[in-house]
């Protein structure tokens, strides 16, 4: 997928081949979390509770995590201007999973969810316009757009946020929500909050 982005994506949109460094990392760890920082770099954590998106990978599938946000940001300014982008593209080399990820910013923001969905949809629209990427994405069994919303923490003496976020503890996998614009691409929209993790 990294090659498709660097070569086919850029060629499709009439851009020079991307030379942005370090846009992907790979792992086959049975559990991992992904965190993106304020410098648009992504970090992999193998212990729960540190990252924003959690993945359970009990079959040890080889997963590649592409920093899509960093890739787009490395393209000419005139192209990326006004284009919303999600954070990551995660796929497994056995062609089972092809996932777009948006990780919630840690700073308080209004309408984070709506913006995240919009970012995912814009990214999906952009990459699925590239025939080679469409073919590659459609060759995967599970094609999902995932919004990960790290649960906020209350001060220790107040459990209000825990109470309001109880749903995230009742359902350990994410929630699939109706999103016709995403479904039109043959993808499903899934939402994860708190301790909910994606099961590869």
């Amino acid at each position: 997928m990294e090659t498709l982005l660097r070569n086919d994506f850029t060629a499709h949109y009439g851009l020079p081949t991307s030379t942005t460094s370090n846009i992907s990392i790979s792992t086959a760890a049975p559990y991992f979390e992904i965190e993106d920082d304020e410098y648009r770099e992504i970090h992999l954590h193998l212990i729960p509770g540190v990252g924003m998106a959690g993945y359970r990978n009990l079959n040890s599938y080889a997963a590649t995590i592409i920093n899509y946000d960093k890739f787009i940001t490395g393209l000419p300014h005139v192209f990326q201007q006004g284009k919303e982008r999600c954070d990551l593209i995660v796929h497994t080399t056995n062609q089972r999973y092809f996932l777009l990820n948006e990780l919630k910013d840690r700073k308080p923001k209004d309408r984070v969810r709506t913006k995240s969905i919009s970012q995912l949809l814009s990214s999906l629209t952009l990459i699925m316009s590239v025939p080679a990427i469409t073919t590659f994405a459609n060759s995967h069994v599970f094609r999902h757009c995932c919004f990960f919303n790290k649960q906020s923490m209350s001060p220790p003496t107040i459990t209000a946020t825990t109470a309001f976020n109880r749903l995230g503890t009742i359902i350990t996998v994410g929630l699939r929500m109706s999103k016709p614009a995403i479904e039109a691409f043959g993808f499903e929209f899934w939402e994860y909050s708190g301790n909910q993790v994606y099961n590869l």
């Binding site: 209004d110 969810r113 309001f164 749903l167 996998v173 929630l175 109706s178 939402e191």
Partner: protein, 385 residues
């Protein structure tokens, strides 16, 4: 009968589509997001469809002269839509029956279509419906019922007088009402000066006060509970039918021409109740108890077929729906209430569009978006450390 609605460019609503309006539909969203606009538009088109049904019934019953005209300009004014209507405003309301027979009423380019004599509803598909809209202005009812006589000619807006009329109608029939969600009772007394509404305790500490002196939460929730009880159990379709149909015929000397295509007992009937902000002035626990009361009246102990449509600002109410779905799945009742997941729709109105909050892979409502405010509060709290 299934209903769908599409709305484009109506005030705050940019592009809204509900493919199948479920028997219990709830809207949540910020102030000014368009919840009320959407609910009013649906209620209006349900009412137009009701009148089109009556017109079709009369036509099928050999009444040749058109019974009435649709005055869209007046209806839009009543809804407060005057400033919302533009050249590109479009509202399409569709009902679909077996074998894909469907009827469509469209408002587009300032014109209403689909209600003409060439678009009559098939006699087998005719419904006799009642449409009720319990507006947020219901909190004026206690004062108006106490002082209204001295304000003859006073006008507090279309929706207030709609809900007041239903309240009056309901209180003619329902003389006592348990308000379990408040541990109170509502009673209607006949006095020399007319009807008197009182609130009584339902506990050992007996007291009775005038309705107008009761708490604000009592004043806003009694009309909901009373009107719902009335439509659920006491609404007399025959009287309503006579008022709508036969009175018209006798007024126009058409009664002799009338050859009823169907008796009322053979006609499908449905009651549509729309409620703005059921939570008004209620503590969260009472909000959830009121929802139990509503669900019980509309879907558990009802004699009449009811469809319920709510708009709310309350995350408590939306979270409570999950409990009632679970109760249904476990075949249990929570204070007399349970909700079938398949009959429920919950939408968040955002940026002029609808977000479907019903999870597709679990039988529950996704309340995560409604936790954003509490998260933000404590994220900011933490940031100050």
């Amino acid at each position: 009968m299934t209903e769908s609605i599409s709305i484009k460019n109506l005030g705050p609503l940019k592009d809204v589509h509900i493919e199948n309006i479920k028997p219990f539909t709830v809207l949540i969203g910020e102030s000014g997001s368009g919840k009320s606009t959407l609910m009013k538009a649906i209620a209006l088109f349900r009412w137009i469809y009701k009148m089109h049904n009556i017109r079709s019934y009369l036509k099928h019953s050999k009444i040749s002269k058109s019974p009435f005209r649709f005055r869209m300009e007046t209806y839009l004014k009543n809804c407060g839509f005057e400033q919302f209507i533009k050249a590109d405003t479009e509202i399409i309301y569709t009902t679909t029956f077996d074998e894909n027979r469907s009827y469509q009423i469209t408002f587009s380019k300032y014109n209403l279509s689909g209600t003409g004599n060439d678009k009559l509803i098939n006699k087998d598909d005719i419904y006799f419906n009642k449409v009720s809209f319990i507006s947020e202005t219901r909190n004026i009812i206690p004062l108006w019922s106490d002082k209204g006589a001295s304000f003859s000619g006073g006008y507090l807006g279309f929706y207030f007088h709609e809900v007041y009329r239903d309240f009056e109608l309901a209180s003619e029939t329902v003389k006592e009402l348990d308000l379990k969600f408040l541990n109170l009772k509502f009673a209607v007394r006949r006095t020399n000066s007319g009807k008197k509404y009182t609130i009584q305790s339902s506990t050992k500490e007996a007291f009775e006060i005038d309705f107008k002196n009761s708490s604000s939460g009592t004043q806003t929730s009694v009309p909901i509970s009373l009107i719902t009880q009335y439509f659920s159990k006491k609404f007399n379709f025959e009287d309503a039918f006579n008022r709508s149909v036969l009175n018209y015929l006798s007024n126009t000397d058409n009664l002799t021409d009338f050859k009823a295509v169907k008796n009322l007992s053979e006609i499908n009937k449905k009651i549509f109740i729309h409620i703005e902000e059921p939570e008004l002035s209620l503590f969260p626990d009472a909000q959830t108890q009121l929802i139990n009361d509503l669900v019980n009246k509309c879907f558990i102990t009802n004699d009449n077929s009811i469809e319920l449509f709510l708009s709310t600002h309350s995350p408590y109410i939306i979270n409570h729906l999950n409990l009632l779905i679970k109760a249904f799945d476990k075949d249990k009742l929570i204070n007399g209430a349970k909700i079938d997941y398949d009959n429920l729709a919950v939408y968040q109105v955002v940026n002029g569009e609808l977000e479907n909050l019903i999870a597709q892979n679990e039988r529950l409502v996704n309340t995560n978006p409604l936790s954003e405010t509490i998260n933000n509060i404590y994220d900011q709290y933490t940031a100050l450390n």
